[in-house]
């Protein structure tokens, strides 16, 4: 799961309200490094094990992840990048032109709240590393509430440190994150190699060919069968859709317009494959191998705790990886959530807003339900922001074909495009209604029909909206 960028007021970022000029465009290599680093985050250590807890089989996870990640890359390439390299605007400004400033403020609020919870999950990951040192009771897979004073104090310590650094020295941590990225990717891969050997030793398997390896994967690592209590059973389709949509806010939701507007060519978006296949393939599989080995040794131990998992595989280096992965990704997430909130109340101090945001994320992190249900949360996050991506796509490509005007808010001077707002709300109401009626398992799938619902509603209501709303006298 990537630490995602809010598009609103990325402090200090350039060309916030104008297209990126040709002399500031970046080459392909810049995007490979950026995507690889962003998508190898602390939360990968939660997501991989949760696949095993969901009773996934070897074929479903190995092939499903390939299919889902390819679809995610294609979404970057064919949905997000073509608009980014034509308009060369941030998501925030693109949305403002379509929806008006007031609706963008509402979008910022939703984005900021989700950032807080996402940062909370990252703080949780870091706090599990402290448990290895201080030996306090840590949360179980199905715990909703904090289960020990030690856990609360560990989260408080991690959250306070991350929030303070985010408020004081965000740039320093972003530099540390750059330094840590290559090291972290290799430690993740080492987790997988060590876990694999441990499985070979524990099962007494002789590996002489790829067939033997596949048999070990099928019969001992990702065995399939029933999920653990409280978990949704993951099939091939669950895995594929999860891998595709876990960053939905970024590709289909168009958040990466702000990144890809710097790309010389739209095909540079294939660089997202580096992030998908390092972070969302190798890292997830490696983390899931460690958890499967824990379950193999003690079937009663279903705790998903990245700290102990990493420690048993790679010792102190593994523990450092968990802390740094959680820290370097939670930090910018808290900072950016603060920026999103600050955009709503521009006169407030950024320092204070970031601290308050960090405090909210820290309180959220104390509740293990957030991290233990991370797969559900990630799916919900994508779903929540996806409709606005559909609005941008339709507004950019289709609206003129229906005889309507693109960027209507900018053209008309209106601050709240209720056609876009209705598309957002109706889509969420329908999708979440389906989830409540049918069951939690469908949360991973509803975003696909949801995209078409959002697009259809926006087109239909734009016909009414653009006819009914009177234009200011100066506009023709």
């Amino acid at each position: 799961m990537a630490e995602q960028k809010p598009q609103e007021t990325t402090g200090g970022s350039e060309f916030e309200r104008e297209p990126v000029p040709p002399d500031r465009l970046l080459g392909f290599k810049s995007f490979i490094g950026m995507y690889a680093g962003e998508h190898t985050a602390g939360t990968e250590l939660m997501i991989g094990p949760l696949f095993v807890a969901a009773g996934v089989s070897a074929f479903d996870v190995v092939v499903g992840l390939i299919a889902g990640n390819v679809l995610a890359v294609l979404s970057w390439v064919f949905l997000c990048a073509p608009i980014a390299t034509r308009a060369r605007l941030t998501l925030y400004y693109q949305l403002e032109k379509i929806c008006g400033r007031r609706l963008v403020t509402l979008y910022n609020l939703a984005n900021g709240v989700m950032f807080c919870f996402l940062a909370g999950a990252m703080v949780t990951v870091s706090a599990t590393a402290l448990g290895v040192w201080f030996k306090f009771p840590m949360p179980e897979l199905n715990d909703l509430y904090p289960n020990s004073i030690g856990w609360v104090l560990a989260v408080l310590a991690c959250g306070a440190m991350i929030s303070l650094v985010a408020a004081y020295g965000y740039k320093v941590v972003s530099k540390i994150a750059n330094v840590a990225a290559p090291w972290m990717v290799l430690v993740f891969i080492a987790f997988g190699l060590v876990g694999l050997r441990q499985f070979i030793d524990a099962t007494g398997t002789q590996i002489a060919s790829l067939d033997d390896l596949w048999t070990l994967a099928r019969t001992s690592i990702w065995k399939g069968g029933d999920p653990l209590p409280g978990q949704v059973k993951f099939t091939f389709w669950h895995v594929m859709f999860f891998a595709w949509f876990c960053n939905m806010a970024v590709h289909v939701g168009m958040s990466d317009l702000s990144v890809l507007r710097f790309a010389k060519k739209s095909w540079y978006a294939v660089a997202s494959g580096a992030g998908m296949f390092l972070g969302h393939y190798l890292a997830w599989l490696a983390a899931s191998i460690l958890y499967a080995f824990q379950m193999h040794q003690d079937p009663g131990n279903t705790k998903v705790l990245p700290g102990p998992l990493a420690y048993q595989a790679a010792g102190l280096a593994g523990l450092l990886c968990v802390i740094i992965a959680g820290w370097t990704t939670a930090n910018p997430t808290i900072y950016r959530a603060g920026l999103a909130f600050q955009a709503i109340v521009p006169k407030s101090s950024r320092f204070r807003v970031t601290l308050i945001t960090g405090a909210i994320a820290t309180v959220a992190a104390m509740f293990p339900a957030l991290a233990m249900k991370l797969n559900d949360f990630v799916a919900l996050y994508g779903l929540l922001l996806m409709p606005m991506g559909a609005v941008i796509f339709v507004d950019f490509w289709l609206i003129p074909k229906f005889g309507l005007r693109s960027s209507y808010a900018e053209w008309s001077g209106h601050r709240f495009n209720w056609a876009a707002f209705a598309a957002w709300v109706v889509t969420l109401a329908v999708c979440l209604g389906i989830v409540f009626i049918v069951g939690r398992w469908i949360l991973y799938f509803v975003a696909l029909p949801g995209w078409f619902i959002a697009s259809g509603v926006y087109i239909v209501l734009s016909r009414v909206y653009q006819r009914q709303v009177p234009l200011p006298a100066a506009k023709g």
Partner: protein, 59 residues
């Protein structure tokens, strides 16, 4: 040139040292406690050697 090249080479070697033990462990050629110690050492070397030049690179 020389002052930049040495830390870069040391950094790359530390990443090799980080990965190699887990590969040897997978091949059954190294014990896990040794793997953990070498990974920790490689981690320390990586951050010591890579931080100065990567810090400058990231502006």
């Amino acid at each position: 040139m020389r002052t930049t090249a040495i830390p870069v080479v040391v950094s790359v070697l530390s990443l090799v040292a980080l990965m190699l033990p887990s590969i040897l462990f997978l091949a059954g050629r190294m014990e896990l406690p040794t793997v953990k110690w070498i990974m920790l050492l490689a981690t320390v070397v990586w951050f010591a050697a890579a931080t100065p030049w990567m810090w400058k690179q990231s502006g």
